[in-house]
C-alpha cells in the first residue's frame, strides 16, 4: 500500500481506524466549540455543591459547585491541545534527528544515534516529574517542552531505522541520477514515503503526552487552575470524590482520557495494518472440505 495519499482511504476502509477517527473527530469538535455540548458556558460557574447526576446537571456538580459535564467538555481543549502540540513538535524533532542521523552517516550519525539512545533509556516519567516540579509544570510551555524532550527519541529511532532502510533504495539514487539536489531528495523523496510511520509516530507521542500530562496533573504537578481532565482528576482525588458520592468527578475525566487515548490507539492499530498488509483482516468464507 502506498504510504502517502492512501492513508485517508485506508482509514475509512478500516473499521478500527474509522471508529478511532470518529471518536477523535468528536473530541476535536468539543475542543473547538465546547458550546455545542453544554448550555453552561463558563466551566467555573458555581452551583450548589455536590449535586447528584440529573438534577439539571448531567453528571452532577462537584465539591466546588462546578458542573462536572461542563468541566469535562471544556477540559477537552487543553488535553487535546497538549497532545497535538507535543505530537507535532516531537514529531518534527524526531524527523530532523532521525532522518539526518540516517543521512549524515559517519560520526554525525553515531553522535545523533547515541543522543537518541540516551534519551531512550533515560527514564522519562521521573525526569518529567523533576522538571515539572522545578520548572513550574503548571506553565503550558514548560509542560509541552518537557513532554517533547522526553517524547521524541522513540520516534527518532524508528524513523532512523526506516530512513536507513531507504538510504540505499534505488528510487533515491534514481532521483540523484536524475540530477536532483540533496535537499530535494530528503524533503520530497524521503519524507513522503514515511508518511504512515510519521503518522503512527505522531499518534504514539500524542497518546504518551495525553497520559503523561494527565498523570502529572493528577499527582499535582500541573497547573491546578487549568481546565483539563487531569486537573479534574486531581481535584476529585484531593476531595475524596469517590468516597463522598461524586464518582462522576473521577469516572468522567478518566473515561474521556481513555476514549481519546483509545482513539489514538485504534488509529495507530489501524496504521499498523495499513503499513503492513499482512496484518489486514481477511474475511473467511465457509469452504467445502
Amino acid at each position: 500500500m502506498r504510504p502517502g495519499a492512501g492513508v485517508l482511504r485506508a482509514v475509512v476502509g478500516n473499521k478500527k481506524a474509522l471508529a478511532g477517527a470518529i471518536m477523535l473527530a468528536i473530541f476535536v469538535i468539543a475542543a473547538i466549540v465546547p458550546q455545542l455540548f453544554t448550555t453552561i458556558h463558563n466551566p467555573n460557574q458555581q452551583f450548589a455543591q455536590m449535586l447528584p447526576p440529573g438534577s439539571g446537571h448531567l453528571l452532577g456538580t462537584n465539591a466546588f459547585g462546578q458542573d462536572i459535564w461542563t468541566q469535562l467538555v471544556y477540559g477537552t481543549r487543553q488535553s487535546l491541545f497538549v497532545c497535538v502540540m507535543v505530537g507535532v513538535l516531537a514529531s518534527v524533532v524526531s524527523i530532523i534527528i532521525g532522518v539526518s542521523a540516517a543521512y549524515l552517516g559517519g560520526l554525525g550519525e553515531d553522535l545523533l544515534s547515541l543522543l537518541t539512545d540516551v534519551f531512550l533509556v533515560i527514564p522519562a516519567l521521573p525526569l518529567i516529574i523533576v522538571i515539572a516540579a522545578y520548572a513550574g509544570g503548571g506553565k503550558m510551555p514548560v509542560l509541552i517542552g518537557v513532554l517533547v524532550i522526553t517524547g521524541w527519541s522513540y520516534g527518532a529511532r524508528q524513523l532512523r531505522a526506516q530512513a536507513m532502510s531507504l538510504r540505499n533504495r534505488d528510487f533515491l539514487e534514481s532521483a540523484r541520477v536524475r540530477g536532483e539536489r540533496a535537499s530535494y531528495v530528503i524533503v520530497f523523496e524521503i519524507l513522503p514515503t514515511m508518511v504512515s510511520l510519521i503518522a503512527a509516530n505522531f499518534l504514539g507521542i500524542a497518546l504518551y503526552a495525553l497520559l503523561t500530562e494527565a498523570g502529572l496533573q493528577f499527582i499535582g504537578l500541573g497547573n491546578s487552575s487549568a481546565n483539563s481532565w487531569g486537573t479534574m482528576l486531581h481535584w476529585a482525588q484531593t476531595n475524596e470524590a469517590l468516597q463522598t458520592g461524586q464518582q462522576w468527578w473521577v469516572i468522567a475525566p478518566g473515561l474521556a482520557i481513555g476514549l481519546l487515548g483509545a482513539s489514538f490507539a485504534l488509529l495507530n492499530y489501524a496504521f499498523d495494518e495499513i503499513g503492513n498488509p499482512a496484518l489486514r483482516p481477511v474475511r473467511r468464507r465457509k469452504v467445502r472440505r
Partner: protein, 527 residues
C-alpha cells in the same frame, strides 16, 4: 470489629491500643532525634517531655511536667525551674536538673539543634544547682517561656554526652530513644512505629492506653479511609466533606473538632509593585469574600479570618471588636472600585497581580482558585502560581513576589503571630532572607510596642495587642483569609478522654507536640 482491635492481636495482651492516622508524607526512618524537625513529631510527647506544658487554647495555661514549678524574676530576665523529684528516664536512671541544663547547653554548643534560636535571641546562661535550673537573659524575655518550657524536649545527659550522640548530635539517629515521657518505642519499621507504655513513667497508672501504632501514611486518602472505617482512632488531617465522609460512617463514635490556631494569609509586598500602594491593599481587603473562600476551598471547615489578625475564638479575649467594626472589612464591590480608582486602576486599566503558593497544598490551591474567581469581576486579575516548596520559600524570603499565600507558626497568644508579621527585626531588604515578616512591614512605633511587650504586665500587654490590631487594620500589611486549625478527628468507640470544644485541655492534633502528650495522658479505654 473496628476500634483499636486491629493492633491488639499482635502483642498478645487484650488491652486497647490506639492507632494514629496522620499523614507524614514519607515512610518512617526509625530515627527519633527530637531536635530533627523531620522526625521530632514521633518522639516529642511520646518519649520526650517538656518542662512545662503551655496550652495555647486556654490563654497559655501552664501544666507543670518535668518542672514542678517555674518563676520569673521581676525584670523578666531570670527564669528559674524547679525540677520534679522522682522522675526516671525509661532506662531507669533518675532525671535531674543536670539533665535539663545539659539539654539547653547542648543547643548552645550545636546551633543546628537550636531550632527556636534561643541562644541567639537573648538567652545567656543555663545552670543547674540542686533541683533548680536557672536561666539568664539579656533582655526581658517572658514570651520565650513558651519556647523554653513547652517547645524544648529534655534529653538525658548520660546518653547524649557520650558516643554517637556526642560526636554529632545533629546527625544522631537516636534509634532507641530514652526519654521520660509516657511511652517508649517498642518496634519501628518504615511502615509503622509502635509505642509501648513506659513502665518508669512518673505519673502512676498512666498512660492508660498501653500500645500505640503510628503508621506512616504517605498520602491523605488512605489515612482518611482508615479513620473513616475506624481502623485508626486519632486523625489529624483535612478530610474533604468531613461530615459525609467521616461522621456519617459512624454517627455515634466519629467526631471532629478543629480549634483555630493561626491565620492563612496573603502576604502583600510592601516594598515593590502595585501592593506598595495602600489603596491597592485596601481594595484587596475589601474584595475577598472569605466565607465563600472557606466554603469552596475547604468545604467550610475553616473559619474565615478577620483583618485584625486575631484568631477567633481561640484568642477572643484579645480581640478589639470596636476597632474592627470601624473598618468593617468584608467583601464590598463599591469600596473596591473606590480604592482601585484611588490607586489609578479602572476597567480600562485593570489591576494585574500574581500570587505564589506551594504546589501540592491542594487546599490552598482551591482557595486561591476561588479568590481568583472572586477578584475577576471586580477588575482584578489574579495569576495564581503554584510553585515547588523550595522555590516558593526562596521567593517568599527574598521578597520576590507581589502576593504570597502563606501562614505563620503562631504561638499561645496573638503576640507571637503579630510579631512574626510585623516586627522589623524579622524582615530584611528585598533580595535578602526575611525570617518571618515577609511583607516587609517596618515601623519604629510598632517595633517599640513589640519591645515593650515582654516586660509588660497583663493589662499593658492587652493594650499593646490592641494597638497592633490597629496596625493590621490601617496598614493592611497582610490579609488574613482563613484561620488554620489544629486538625483533629477522633473515635470514641473504645477510647474516651479526648479533648473537646468543652474541654480544651490541649491542642488536639496528633502532630501538635508536646500537646499530644496531654491528650495521651487523658485517654483511657472505654468502660
Amino acid at each position: 470489629s473496628g476500634g483499636g482491635s486491629s493492633g491488639s492481636g499482635t502483642n498478645g495482651s487484650k488491652s486497647t491500643s490506639l492507632t494514629i492516622a496522620n499523614v507524614g508524607g514519607t515512610t518512617w526512618t526509625c530515627g527519633f532525634n527530637p531536635f530533627n524537625p523531620s522526625v521530632s513529631g514521633l518522639s516529642i510527647g511520646f518519649v520526650y517531655e517538656p518542662l512545662v506544658y503551655v496550652n495555647p487554647l486556654q490563654n497559655s495555661k501552664e501544666t507543670p511536667m518535668i518542672a514542678e514549678s517555674s518563676k520569673w524574676s521581676s525584670d523578666k530576665k531570670t527564669l528559674t525551674f524547679t525540677i520534679r523529684d522522682g522522675i526516671k528516664w525509661s532506662d531507669g536512671k533518675p532525671l535531674t536538673a543536670d539533665d535539663v541544663a545539659f539539654t539547653f547547653n547542648l543547643l548552645k554548643a550545636n546551633k543546628g539543634l537550636d531550632l527556636n534560636a534561643l541562644w541567639s535571641s537573648g538567652l545567656q546562661s543555663v545552670e543547674a544547682s540542686g533541683n533548680t535550673v536557672t536561666m539568664k537573659f539579656s533582655t526581658p524575655s517572658q514570651p520565650y517561656f513558651y519556647y523554653i518550657a513547652d517547645q524544648t524536649p529534655i534529653v538525658p545527659k548520660h546518653i547524649w554526652s557520650t558516643g554517637e550522640a556526642a560526636k554529632n548530635p545533629v546527625q544522631f539517629t537516636d534509634a532507641k530513644p530514652i526519654g521520660s515521657g509516657p511511652y517508649t518505642v517498642s518496634d519501628c519499621k518504615p511502615q509503622n512505629v509502635r509505642y509501648q507504655a513506659n513502665a518508669n513513667f512518673w505519673q502512676k497508672g498512666k498512660p492508660a492506653i498501653k500500645t500505640i501504632n503510628y503508621p506512616a501514611y504517605t498520602d491523605n486518602s488512605p489515612a482518611n479511609l482508615d479513620l473513616a472505617t475506624g481502623k485508626a482512632q486519632w486523625g489529624g488531617q483535612y478530610i474533604p466533606n468531613v461530615d459525609k465522609y467521616y461522621v456519617d460512617r459512624d454517627k455515634t463514635d466519629n467526631h471532629y473538632w478543629y480549634p483555630p490556631v493561626a491565620n492563612v494569609q496573603i502576604f502583600l509586598n510592601l516594598k515593590q509593585g502595585p501592593t506598595a500602594d495602600l489603596a491597592v491593599r485596601q481594595a484587596l481587603a475589601y474584595a475577598i469574600d472569605k466565607d465563600q473562600v472557606s466554603k469552596i476551598g475547604v468545604g467550610g471547615q475553616l473559619p474565615s479570618s478577620n483583618q485584625a489578625g486575631i484568631v477567633l475564638p481561640t484568642f477572643k479575649d484579645w480581640y478589639d471588636q470596636a476597632a474592627a467594626d470601624k473598618y468593617g472589612y468584608k467583601q464590598d464591590p463599591a469600596k473596591v472600585k473606590q480604592y482601585l480608582a484611588k490607586a489609578g486602576y479602572s476597567t480600562a486599566k485593570p489591576l494585574n497581580l500574581s500570587i505564589i503558593s506551594v504546589s501540592g497544598y491542594t487546599d490552598w490551591e482551591a482557595e486561591l482558585q476561588e479568590i481568583k474567581h472572586q477578584l475577576q469581576p471586580l477588575g482584578i486579575n489574579l495569576d495564581v502560581q503554584n510553585i515547588a516548596g523550595q522555590t516558593y520559600d526562596n521567593k517568599l524570603y527574598k521578597g520576590d513576589f507581589q502576593l504570597a499565600y502563606g501562614s505563620q507558626t503562631g504561638g499561645p497568644a496573638p503576640y507571637y503571630e503579630l510579631r512574626q508579621n510585623l516586627y522589623s527585626g524579622n524582615t530584611a531588604p528585598i533580595g535578602q532572607n526575611a525570617s518571618s515578616n515577609y511583607s516587609r512591614y517596618s515601623s519604629k512605633k510598632t517595633d517599640a510596642l513589640f519591645n515593650e511587650y515582654p516586660g509588660a504586665d497583663d493589662q499593658r500587654q492587652h493594650a499593646i495587642v490592641n494597638d497592633l490590631q490597629g496596625v493590621m487594620l490601617a496598614d493592611v500589611p497582610t490579609i488574613p483569609v482563613l484561620e488554620s486549625v489544629s486538625w483533629f478527628q477522633y473515635n470514641t468507640k473504645e477510647i474516651t478522654g479526648w479533648p473537646t470544644e468543652q474541654d480544651q485541655y490541649a491542642l488536639p492534633a496528633p502532630y501538635a507536640v508536646p500537646d499530644n502528650e496531654q491528650v495521651l495522658l487523658h485517654l483511657k479505654p472505654k468502660g
